[in-house]
Symmetry: C2
Subunit: 239 residues, 2 copies
């Protein structure tokens, strides 16, 4: 986007995120659909009674808004339709439950998925008994189902992350959560999707300010953290 | 911010907004305060029970969020405190009523004000009898009062705007509203403030997509319009 004063700074990005050599959006047809899917990080307080594309109230105030808005700003002629259908608390099997109406029916050209932290967190706190194997199996099944209906969809898998020093990140969290991140990466590699390395991004960000600045509880990003996530997504997907 | 794919596009900005030669934020001290003030366009659905700096729920989902977030992302070491205190429906005299607690007490280093569309709109629809002279007089009084308490504050005046083709922009609107925009510009010139030319910006944007894309009712920007406003603000203030 940017002006001289702002252009000097994205050091955190240059240290942690590789730009894609290919720009999906540039090659889009008019009216193509981009869909953000996930849990509370994606949901970000959106008004779920509205399910409108390109509508701020339907987007909440998180990384999905901050990712979609610059795309809409910069490609007005494309008439893109961008949706946020993240729902707080979701684990991967809950995406599966609502996948027909909240993904397949929308026929996205780009599908971005950020899921996994609740698959671990809810197990950790005794509300859920799925393992990392269940997470990986269900995530793969979700992509198989997606590819069957939408063989041309460009999938973006966003790495589930947790930020050291966040108030919810207790003893053993990072060690136990790492296999979920690794599973997501394996899936991304096997399905040939775009990959947004959020865990690495936040590790880099911690060199500049503590978790309280980027992601106070270690799970839900601040404004600064959400903006960083948006920039990383744009770099990976827009090239 | 930006990557190659996204860097090519800000033509709307380059055609309508001049970058400032001076970058206020770069010269800030740690912990400095930036304050966004205005009406519904600034408010943008923020949770007014929270009055927190750097907090997405306290910011809503409009241009203030989209302006503040990249600043927070890119200057983590500055520990800036950024507030949104816009309130829906406000006219300039209503800023005056709450100026002590919602501006002066916060001691901003940068104060951004976007006010004026309701001063006209509410008069147009018979809910208010202030004239453009009242708007200008009260706006100047507000700045005098601000400068008295905060002689060092850098003021940014955002041009009040209305977008041709918006559903609320009836016959005669633009002609009758123009004097308000002109008054704001005179004030900006007289007080030596930064000036964000939003009316010009949206006129330029209309070359690429209609009002329904940027600002459906002509007053309240869409996601795309809010992002454009944020980029313009950053260009003017960040240099």
């Amino acid at each position: 986007m940017q002006t001289a004063g702002m252009a000097a700074i994205p050091m955190i990005l240059s240290e942690s995120v590789e730009a894609s050599p290919k720009n999906d959006i540039q090659s889009f047809s008019d009216g193509n659909v981009i869909l953000f899917q996930g849990d509370s990080i994606t949901d970000a307080g959106r008004d779920r009674k509205r399910q409108l594309p390109n509508d701020a109230h339907s987007f909440g105030n998180g990384y999905a808004l901050m990712t979609a808005s610059p795309i809409l700003e910069q490609f007005p002629e494309k008439q893109l339709q961008i949706y946020n259908r993240g729902i707080s608390g979701n684990k991967v099997y809950q995406l599966e439950d609502r996948w027909q109406e909240d993904c397949l029916d929308l026929r996205p050209s780009v599908l971005s998925i950020l899921i996994g932290v609740n698959d671990y967190w809810h197990k950790r706190n005794g509300q859920y008994d799925g393992t990392v194997e269940v997470y990986e199996r269900d995530f793969r099944a979700l992509l198989d189902r997606t590819k069957e209906t939408l063989p041309e969809v460009a999938v973006v898998i966003c790495e589930p992350f947790s930020v050291d020093g966040g108030s919810a990140i207790g003893d053993g969290w990072q060690e136990e959560f790492t296999p979920y991140r690794e599973a997501a990466k394996r899936i991304s590699d096997d399905y040939g999707t775009r990959w947004v390395p959020y865990h690495k991004l936040f590790k880099e960000a911690l060199k500049h300010a503590p978790a309280s600045y980027w992601c106070p509880d270690g799970v839900h990003p601040s404004m600064a953290g959400a903006q960083l996530m948006a920039q990383a997504w744009l770099k990976v997907v827009m090239g």
